[in-house]
């Protein structure tokens, strides 16, 4: 079991910065994120794109901002549960929440701060009539355990980087790899496209373009796929052991929507006059995931919200302690790792 002061859900810029503000108040944080890496949308959707409205940065790359935030919060030693989605919340008592992920990891904290952005990123499912019936019965939306494809036949659908990269990777493991894409053009890193071209020429990957999977067949286990050409309308059936559609990720609010929080316009309602607390005392929502009159979904607003949330969390965790705002220039940074950052002392000395 993981125990901390503030449990943050979402490792985007707002969640990361909350660790810093909490650290200044000597509160420890742990972050859960469904993605395998920190950074949220910035790392997942647009790592190389520039951002122009971070105060003090005329221009900063999205991933660069994430890297900087990670560096900034390092002294406060945040814990991470990555690649897991926060699923269930239970109020143990007035001072303790328990959050369990889809993989069963248990976290306990006095305060929960939801910094979930647009929600957790989930695979986009192709619109095939009986698709759900074959999920985990030969149909997978992501590759977690490549070894399971050893000597099996695999059909991958999609035209982006993940479809290309997994086709390349699995061509070494699986008995047969078929890549289906509805266009002739692939959108991906040039070397991945070229590698697939080479593997196709070498007979290690079979390519069907411009084709689409239109039907899944099988009894309990998936057995075959119907493919249809987008050019000639020709249809063919392909026997396979696995079908992996890779059509990217889309954010969904997910289980958080069922936590008893007040939701409006796909966002969590909070008290913006004070501390961004939700209708459940002790649970806060900060950044893009919240809503209030005049809400702007901007990173800089998320930073502000995170800061006020931490002040309120402190009062909640230490009701008997007084707190006074300290400037980092004056007080410096005292990391939980023992590191100290401080403004250099002015020299007081007489000049003869």
């Amino acid at each position: 079991m993981i125990q901390t002061d503030i449990l943050i859900i979402g490792a985007g810029p707002t969640g990361l910065f909350a660790v810093f503000e909490a650290g200044l108040l000597k509160l420890k944080c742990h972050i859960i994120d469904a993605l395998p890496q920190a950074g949220g949308q910035l790392s997942e959707l647009y790592p190389k794109k520039p951002i122009y409205d971070i105060p003090g940065y005329p221009e900063v790359g999205a991933q660069e901002l994430v890297d900087n935030l990670m560096e900034q919060i390092k002294p406060f030693q945040p814990g991470f549960t990555l690649g897991e989605r926060a699923e269930k919340i239970t109020k143990i008592d007035d001072k303790l929440f328990e959050v369990v992920t889809d993989k069963g990891t248990v976290h306990r904290a006095a305060v929960v701060a939801i910094a979930g952005g647009l929600g957790s990123f989930e695979p986009r499912k192709p619109q095939l009539p009986n698709i759900e019936q074959f999920e985990d019965k030969g149909l997978l939306y992501m590759v977690k355990n490549p070894a399971q494809f050893k000597d099996k036949r695999v059909v991958i659908a999609g035209g982006g980087d993940s479809a290309l990269d997994w086709s390349i990777y699995l061509s070494d493991i699986a008995a047969e790899v078929v890549l289906v894409h509805r266009r002739n053009e692939f959108r991906g890193a040039l070397d991945s496209v070229e590698k697939v071209q080479d593997l196709k020429s070498a007979g290690k990957i079979k390519l069907y373009t411009p084709y689409e999977v239109t039907k899944i067949e099988g009894d309990i286990q998936l057995k075959s796929l119907r493919l249809k050409s987008n050019q000639t309308e020709t249809e063919l059936d392909l026997e396979t052991d696995f079908f992996i559609p890779l059509f990217g990720l889309t954010p969904k609010l997910g289980p958080i929507a069922n936590w008893g929080l007040e939701i409006e316009k796909n966002a969590i309602k909070v008290d913006n006059t004070l501390d961004y607390q939700t209708n459940i005392p002790g649970i806060y929502a900060i950044g893009d995931v919240n809503t209030y009159p005049g809400k702007l979904k901007l990173i800089l607003c998320g930073f502000h919200e995170a800061t006020l949330m931490c002040q309120s969390a402190f009062a909640r965790i230490h009701p008997d302690k007084r707190n006074v705002l300290k400037y980092t220039t004056v007080g410096g940074i005292n990391g939980f790792d023992g590191s100290v950052k401080q403004a250099p002392k002015a020299v007081v000395k007489t000049i003869d």
């Binding site: 949308q41 959707l45 647009y46 794109k49 647009l118 986009r124 192709p126 619109q127 999609g158 035209g159 982006g160 894409h181 509805r182 266009r183 053009e185 959108r187 059509f247 990217g248 889309t250 954010p251 609010l253 316009k265 796909n266 966002a267």
Partner: protein, 112 residues
Amino acid sequence: MIVSKEVRIQITDRNGTSHEVMAPTDLNMNLMEVIRSFELAEEGTIGICGGMAMCASCQCYVLSDHDLLHRGDEEEAMLSEAFNVRENSRLSCQIPINEALENLHIEIAQED
């Protein structure tokens, strides 16, 4: 005083209801933003990536015969992976509002 120009656009929402809106040509807006500003699709279900052609949540169909069927490269790539794509599909975030759009008629595609 600057007289702001507006164009008339007909937007069919995801429930099939048609709305006529006046969209400003001088606010550097795109069609996805117009749809959001008039709240014609539920917040959180449109323009998820913010208008970078990196999701297909703002997909629309161009119903009138405006010359809008030329997609950009990134848009084309995104639409090649989206669902419910038709000949007349566009990402509305990639359509800037200008005077040529007078009497445009679009339909917002279903969520995927």
